[in-house]
């Protein structure tokens, strides 16, 4: 059962690989052909040198008439072999880098269509590693591995054939002895594998310890725990040292051992060859060719055994990539999907329920009716489902029961693009792209003029700090906007919304990191912006939601109370409790 699934998986992987390299078939064929030329010429050269040696018999007995044409010919062969090798190398590059780019871009394009549920449940680091490292390993290992395997096998076969044409018995000696080095290499590799695994485990442990402690270095210092962490570090470091020494030592035995076995083969060839030569079985020149072959013969074997492991790794990478690109995308917009333009802003939740995992229902039978222009506040403790409602509104997730409508349309019958374009969203976790301030603000409306952009930034009270940045609106922001404070990042994302001003606004703790003076100013701008627009406001500072038309109090996925501020206070329930607690005296 399991096996058959593996076979199916493997055949899917191979199909994926084949699709990826298909556009490059001509390149690959040409490269293979040129490698064959290189191998054959490379193998011919020792034979030609051997026949030259045969014409160098002794003092005054050197046949220059025979030698010279062979030597000229050898130079030409070497030149042709070199040229063929270079060209095939470049062809390989073209294929490898081309495939990796194709595969990567295809995967990236696919990611754009994946549902949020997939992206939320898979760490970004893991997906990025598939997109970057696995794509590299796949194409590198597979294609370079393939060419190396091809030339390796061809060299082995060619060498055997050439040797056979000279002498069967010596060939036999070489053929029997050489594979020994592979066994030995395999034996050592097998032994070191477990050591390397141990080493990489401990190394991983070390890295995550370092990562955590360096990130928390200030906390460590403020509690004077430098010595304690150093003690823990030493414990891991000592273990790492021990297993690194053995892993590195044992793995570094591979080369000397194969070299030694090669020396044995070489001695065997010299012995049998010389003895045959005495009997007149072969010439001294042929012995020279044999010795050259004996020298090179084990090299392709080592390469082949290396390539096989690499191919395995590359297949594993291909499978991981395939897992990503094979992930089912979001259900595409239906054929009759409506394009929402200039939405009025009527939103209704009709008996909706939702859960991230079937075992744990989160939102149950929620009904809300919002008329265009109303302001809805959502309050409640952390984890009560506030953010989930936003996920549903924007169709980052689809409801599992009931329906959400905008202007009377079930949002599942509206194109995602037009639906999302009707919303303006400022999230608590602001996201800044690593580009200029200008591009960041214009993210929602790339065609806006600079005047409009500056006006939006002014309205968001961001203009002031932006102008104080080294290059104003053209300042490049680092990854995640690291150079800005959390508050400044929020001001920037508010500017984005101020620039695009869509009909429905979603403000998720939008001003949580902004000081209240600035917040008061921004809220005036917000008020202006929200006038006549439907707005959903998530907040835990109750002061910011007081003026809303409707306040939803959520707890554990349920709306436990709803009404206006005054109604809720009068009811004397959970809301009143929350409200009063913020004025509790010390």
């Amino acid at each position: 059962m399991k096996k058959s699934r593996n076979t199916a998986e493997n055949s899917r992987t191979w199909k994926f690989i084949f699709r990826a390299i298909k556009p490059y078939m001509i390149h690959i064929a040409a490269s293979v052909l040129l490698s064959a030329v290189t191998v054959v010429l490379t193998l011919l050269i020792p034979i030609r040198i051997g026949s030259v040696v045969d014409n160098i018999i002794g003092e005054g007995k050197v046949n220059f008439d025979a030698i010279m044409p062979i030597l000229y010919g050898t130079v030409i062969m070497a030149a042709v072999a070199g040229a063929a090798q270079w060209i095939s190398g470049m062809l390989n590059n073209r294929v490898v880098y081309g495939v990796v780019r194709d595969v990567r871009c295809a995967a990236h394009r696919h990611i754009q269509t994946l549902p949020l549920s997939y992206l939320d449940s898979h760490p970004a680091g893991e997906i990025v590693s598939r997109l970057v490292a696995d794509a590299d390993k796949f194409s590198d290992g597979l294609l370079l591995g393939f060419t190396q395997l091809f030339t390796g096998v061809l060299t082995v076969i060619g060498t055997l054939l050439f040797m056979l044409t000279i002498n069967v018995w010596i060939t036999l000696a070489v053929a029997v002895l050489t594979p020994m080095s592979i066994f030995v290499a395999k034996f050592i590799a097998g032994r070191t594998y477990s050591m390397f695994r141990r080493q990489s485990e401990v190394r991983g442990e070390m890295t995550s310890y370092i990562d955590e402690m360096i990130a928390g270095q200030k906390t460590v210092k403020s509690f004077c725990r430098e010595e304690m962490t150093l003690g823990e570090f030493d414990g891991i470091n000592d273990r790492l040292t021990k297993c690194s020494v053995s892993a590195i030592f044992f793995s570094s035995l591979t080369n000397p051992t194969t070299r030694f076995l090669n020396a044995v083969v070489y001695a065997a060839v010299a012995l049998t060859g010389a003895l045959t030569a005495i009997g007149g079985g072969i010439s001294v020149g042929m012995l020279t060719s044999f010795l050259s072959y004996a020298n090179q013969y084990s090299k392709p074997f080592n390469e082949i055994s290396g390539v096989v492991t690499e191919l395995g790794a590359s297949l594993a990478s291909a499978a991981r990539l395939l897992e990503l690109t094979g992930e089912a995308p979001e259900a595409p917009d239906g054929d009759g999907a409506v394009t929402l333009t200039d939405a009025a802003g009527d939103v209704s939740f009709d008996h909706i329920s939702f859960s991230y995992t079937p075992e744990r229902p989160l939102i149950r039978d929620v009904n809300i009716d919002v008329r265009a222009g109303q302001h809805i506040a959502i309050v409640g403790p952390t984890g009560c489902g506030k953010t989930t409602l936003i996920n549903l509104l924007l169709r980052f997730y689809d409801v599992t029961g009931g329906k959400i409508t905008v202007d009377g349309h079930d949002i599942r019958s509206v194109t995602r693009h037009s639906l999302r374009a009707s919303y303006g969203m400022v999230l608590q976790d602001t996201w800044i792209k690593s580009c200029t301030v200008r591009e960041n603000i214009k993210l929602g409306r790339p065609d806006a003029t600079d005047e409009e952009m500056v006006a939006a930034a002014r309205a968001a009270h961001a203009d002031g700090f932006i102008r104080r940045l080294p290059h104003g609106y053209d300042t490049m922001l680092g990854e995640g906007g690291e150079s800005l404070s959390q508050g400044q990042r929020q001001l920037l994302s508010i500017s984005r919304i101020m620039l695009s001003i869509p009909p429905i606004l979603i403000l998720d703790e939008a001003t949580s990191s902004i000081d209240t003076r600035t917040e008061a100013r921004i809220s005036r701008a917000f008020t202006k912006m929200m006038a006549g627009r439907t707005a959903f406001i998530v907040a835990h500072r109750l002061s910011t939601v007081r003026g809303s038309d409707l306040i939803l109090v959520m707890r554990d996925g349920d709306i436990i109370e709803q009404g206006t501020h005054e109604e809720l206070l009068a009811r004397g329930g959970f809301y009143r409790h929350l409200w009063e607690s913020q004025f509790a005296a010390v």
């Binding site: 402690m213 996201w431 913020q582």
Partner: protein
């Protein structure tokens, strides 16, 4: 590099023996072509079978000796390189623990982590390769030439020409391609950044419908990467064919010259074979050497990066270890200014105030007004650029850092929890705290219900960064961690921002009830959190614009009034 050598010195024996054994092995390898020449010129020529057998045995014997030498060499090299790197890693980790806050700010976490991990691994690889191969390869190359000269000086002159030409070709290609590979790396980094940002910003990007632009940008970067890879690939693909052609050209010339010398009766046929064999040995070693040099260059760069951190000055330390905890004033600021190392203008300017023992001080102000800077100066995380900060009457710069920081506990806004259990995290504050002390700290920090809500209680596992706890839960645990230290100056740097008002109020009440009463600094953006403080300091753009009680400030300080109104108006209207 000096640091690396410093730690390598403890492995002096190993780092000398390693290369030495390698050279022995190489020497034995160099004898092999001579043995082959002897087989041809003596054995075959005279039909002496016994001689041939003995020579073959000699070759195997040379192989055995070579193998044992290498095994010894590999062992010593592994021991020295791993041991040295381990000591270096420890030294760096320890040194980072001794750096001051501004240096840590300047370096950044990811830089330090890279230095401790991948740079260290690179140094280890480089050291190991250096000990094993750096002497061997040149030795074989020049050894082969010397051996060729012992056979025949005339023919050997071919070597004298070939070696420099080959070396030039190999190193020229390497030198040209190394900087190009750096460009490839940069292009790859861009691809990586693009991919990661796209995932992290997926909600914003999809909300704005920017998928198509993201794809276009990613593909542009992918194309740029492929183009730069192809460019450098074209050059580095030249290495093997070029050296192959050169070495065969040299072999042809060598055989021709050899033929002339045999014809003239100067050498024998077998010696021509030996010369040819030496020629093939050179190529292999030169390519190895070139690869080695690339690796070593990278390692040297890594070592220098590591060293640049180790060379950073340690945090200055004072020598006062006794503090008069009964002094009238717990904390004094006397005309204090602070300017960050890379900051343009003062983060704080000319701040003066005095805090009596047991008082509670509120600090309020807008984003970037210098609130955190001010409190971080009390445990001397940032030393004053001008003026003096005193704790219990002593200039903080003169107090031993350990002594000072055991008295002052700071809870900063984003302080992390570490992997382990809840108990481990609280004991991080003071490892020898009793269960009763832990329980009381937890209670004061309003964290009792956090712990009660978890199945494992105090032994509930904490994931890295405390991600399995909510923001408010994390904050309460970090407060408990600070309380358990028993420090008598407590700084809460916006550390109750994620708490709801009820919990925040309960926290304030339980802090006020502590006995003996600690001196408390509360940094906040909400007036409600600090309005009951004995003294409130109002900061605006790094300057103190008001100081006094809530009522005094309402009467006298416009900024304070504005902050208070902005919160109050919304709250009560």
């Amino acid at each position: 590099m000096r640091q690396v050598f410093h730690y390598l010195r403890s492995y002096l024996k190993e780092s000398l023996l390693g290369p030495l054994f390698k050279l022995l092995e190489a020497t034995f390898e160099l004898f092999v072509p001579l043995v082959v020449a002897d087989i041809v010129d003596v054995g075959i020529k005279n039909g002496d079978r016994t001689h041939i057998v003995w020579m073959a045995v000699l070759m195997v014997a040379l192989g055995v000796i070579g193998l044992s030498c290498t095994v010894a060499a590999q062992y010593f090299a592994a021991k020295a390189s791993v041991g040295c790197t381990s000591k270096l890693r420890r030294a760096l980790f320890r040194h980072i623990g001794k750096l001051d806050y501004s240096t840590l700010d300047g370096l950044g976490t990811s830089t330090m982590v890279t230095r401790l991990t991948s740079d260290m691994n690179q140094v280890e690889t480089g050291l190991n390769l250096t000990l094993r191969l750096l002497l061997r390869s040149p030795f074989v190359v020049f050894g082969a030439m010397v051996m060729a000269f012992t056979i025949d000086a005339h023919a050997a002159s071919v070597f004298a020409v070939t070696i420099p030409v080959l070396a030039l070709a190999v190193f020229a290609i390497m030198l040209v391609s190394i900087p190009l590979y750096k460009k490839v790396q940069q292009a790859l980094d861009k691809v990586l950044l693009s991919a990661r940002e796209n995932l992290l910003g997926v909600r914003v990007l999809r909300a704005f419908g920017r998928e198509a632009d993201e794809i276009a940008e990613f593909e542009k970067r992918g194309d740029a990467l492929a183009a730069s890879q192809r460019f450098v690939g074209r050059i580095s693909a030249l290495l093997n064919p070029l050296t192959f052609v050169l070495i065969n050209l040299a072999a042809v010339v060598l055989v021709y010259v050899g033929a002339l010398r045999v014809d003239a009766g100067m050498i024998e046929t077998g010696e021509v074979i030996a010369l040819y064999n030496y020629m093939s040995q050179i190529l292999v070693e030169l390519v190895k050497l070139a690869n080695l040099i690339i690796n070593v260059t990278r390692s040297v760069a890594s070592a220098n990066r590591i060293e640049s951190i180790i060379m950073l000055p340690e945090e200055e330390n004072g020598c006062v270890t006794e503090l008069d905890v009964n002094a009238e004033y717990a904390v004094e600021f006397d005309r204090v200014s602070l300017r960050y190392k890379n900051g343009g203008s003062d983060a704080l300017s000319d701040i003066s105030f005095r805090v009596r023992r047991g008082q509670t001080v509120g600090i309020i102000g807008g984003t970037g007004s210098g609130k955190s800077s001010l409190v971080n100066m009390i445990p001397a995380f940032y030393p004053a650029t001008a003026g003096v900060v005193r704790v219990y009457g002593e200039n903080v710069n003169d107090i031993d850092r350990g002594t000072l920081r055991r008295r002052v506990a700071v809870v900063s806004q984003g302080a992390p929890l570490f992997r382990g259990t809840v108990r481990d995290n609280i004991l991080f504050g003071r490892p020898d705290a009793t269960d009763a002390e832990v329980a009381s700290a937890v209670k004061t920090a309003q964290a009792a219900d956090v712990i009660a809500s978890k199945d494992g209680g105090l032994d509930e596992p904490v994931e890295r960064g405390g991600v399995n706890f909510s923001g408010g839960q994390r904050q309460r645990l970090t407060i408990a961690r600070a309380l358990v230290t028993g420090a008598d100056i407590l700084i809460l740097d916006d550390s109750s921002s994620a708490l709801d008002f009820a919990t925040d109020a309960a926290l304030r009440a339980s802090l006020a009830a502590l006995e003996p009463k600690p001196t408390v600094f509360v940094v906040s953006q909400r007036t409600s959190s600090i309005m009951h403080a004995d003294m409130i300091i109002v900061l605006d753009d790094g300057e103190c614009v008001g100081m006094g009680t809530h009522e005094e400030l309402l009467a006298s300080c416009a900024v304070y009034r504005e902050i208070h109104d902005s919160q109050r108006k919304e709250a009560s209207a």
